[in-house]
Amino acid sequence: MAESVITLPKTKRKKSSKFGQHNLVGYLFISPWLITFFLFTFIPLFVSLILAFTDFNVLANSGDFIGLDNFNRMFNEDRRYWKSVYATVKYVVFAVPLRLIFALAVAMLLNTTRRGIGIYRAAFYAPSIVGGSIAVAVMWREIFGNEGLVNFVLGLVGIVGPNWLGRPETAIWTLIILAAWQFGSPMLIFLAGLKNIPKALYESAEIDGANGWNKFRHITIPMLTPIIFFNLIMQMISGFMVFTQAFIITGGRPLDTTLFYALYIYRRAFENFEMGYASAMAWVMLLVIAILTAVVFRSSSYWVHYEADEGN
């Protein structure tokens, strides 16, 4: 970086880079982040870990140390807990791959020099920009409602549609479809990645007689693996934290089939005020996400070539 004041003699330069570190200035600049990190992230994280071993409850006015009871209750007694785990895993397992497949397919469609690409890109991205809003969730609840748009269309062709949101078999799928509809950001990331693949690779493959599938399988996919992995980890993390949509559209019903993990934590913490128990659940979530992320990061070292300009 900016250490090259060329005129200085060599010995002095070395000395100055040692003492010329602007420690005070550096910490002054990052102090806003540092202070809020400690106050609002690090200390809460630590407190949350302690709470996980207590029966802290604002309403019951309790807060005793109860060892591993919360974890025992979670894993062995609380059937709703496992339902929420099941719902979340099911959601992540279906919604994330669907979203990524749509994202990649549309990105490949849009990776041309044809006219009008800008408009298409905006059109495919638009649902994602409003996807997290309450308005879209309210709209979705109406679309899949008993007398909603989907059943109205089915009625036109003589089919009596089911109560999508009220049946345990279908409710979660309305949320998975909503997630799949919002493939905009991974699509843009894929698109940027596709544009970075050297054209020469495809050209030389064509000379060797490769067809479209061959090129996709042996050039596009391998070249995109770093981006696929990046998208996978980001989408997985946000998938595990899904909250708002389920909160508005299904409220966790029916029969807890859409009671996602984050929603269950919210209900325990802010409706039952069992904050000790909820903290234990949150920490398990943190550990699971950390482990999954670590696994993917590990595997990414086999795929990703990082440039050597990591910050100094």
Partner: protein, 302 residues
């Protein structure tokens, strides 16, 4: 949307076709098919949103009898004043004021702090920088649930429930996403000017203020857009801390307003839902280029 361009294909109809013309013809047909397919897919993608806005102009009975239509048979703008009236004696003007206040002030704090912190990480050398940088990146993956319970306990103890403090204070440190994005941006600025200024005796603070800040404009715009619309859509944090209806943001208000057990005026619900998306759409249309850049280069989630 699907503007079909058949320009190339028409030329070579009557004559014998040379290989070059065959190629042109094939390309023309392909282009038509491409726009037909992608255009239809794009319309299908947008249909629910058009439908929402269309339905917000339908009279009560038409909402159920003419559900699929985007353009209503009878134009019925009354849904908007009906919805705007809100609930519990509080109208949507209050909710919009709250939302704009939160989104604008929150963004100002967030982005300003992010720039300052990013400069420290990108251009100042200090002991422990690598570690703090790694920790900052790690916080990106932290589930909010781990932090909000202790935060809630402390903030309620301090009597900050139903104030903006719990929502705004944590923003004074910037947001890891934006800090990271701005760091990447600053790294792409050549260091020549920094060095020249340093020789002239400028301090790090001076360099930041005089040299880096003016060049940061594109990054600031991108970060501000994301910050604004994420804050606009934010739900969980306001839900926890703002329990008085006169403090509700638009998102919170919509949730109460559309509660299936209370509200049956679907036209009004559609109207207020659609309206709440308008600020985000305006930003999207105006600053699309920045958004695309931001997502493509840093992998921000949208």
């Amino acid at each position: 949307m699907a503007t079909i361009k058949s320009s190339d294909s028409v030329i070579s109809k009557s004559r014998m076709t040379t290989p070059k013309e065959v190629w042109y013809k094939r390309k023309g047909v392909q282009t038509v098919l491409y726009h037909l397919f992608v255009g239809l897919a794009a319309i299908l993608m947008l249909y629910p949103l058009f439908w929402l806005f269309g339905s917000s102009f339908k009279p009560p009975d038409e909402i159920w009898t003419n559900q699929t239509a985007i353009i209503p048979n009878e134009f019925y703008p009354d849904n908007y004043p009906n919805g705007w009236a809100g609930f519990g004696g509080i109208n949507f003007e209050v909710f919009y004021k709250n939302s704009f206040f939160y989104a604008i002030v929150g963004t100002l704090i967030n982005v300003t702090a992010s720039c300052i912190v990013a400069y420290g990480f990108a251009r100042v050398k200090f002991a422990g920088k690598r570690i703090w940088f790694s920790i900052m990146l790690l916080t990106l993956m932290l589930p909010a649930q781990v932090q909000i319970i202790p935060q809630y306990i402390v903030f309620t103890q301090l009597g900050w429930l139903n104030t903006w403090l719990p929502l705004l204070l944590p923003r004074f440190g910037g947001q890891a996403f934006f800090i990271f994005m701005i760091i990447q941006f600053i790294r792409s600025i050549p260091t020549d000017l920094d060095e020249a200024a340093m020789i002239d005796g400028a301090s790090k603070v001076g360099i930041f203020y005089r040299i880096i800040m003016p060049q940061l404009a594109p990054a600031i715009v991108t970060a501000s857009i994301f910050s604004f619309y994420w804050t606009w859509d934010e739900f969980l944090i306001p839900l926890i801390y703002l329990n008085k209806p006169d403090l509700y943001t638009v998102s919170l208000a919509l949730r109460t307003f559309s509660d299936p057990s209370g509200q049956t005026d679907w036209g009004a619900i559609f109207a207020m839902s659609g309206l709440s998306l308008v600020p985000v759409f305006i930003i999207f249309v105006t600053f699309q280029r920045y958004l695309v850049e931001g997502i493509s280069t840093t992998g921000l989630k949208g």
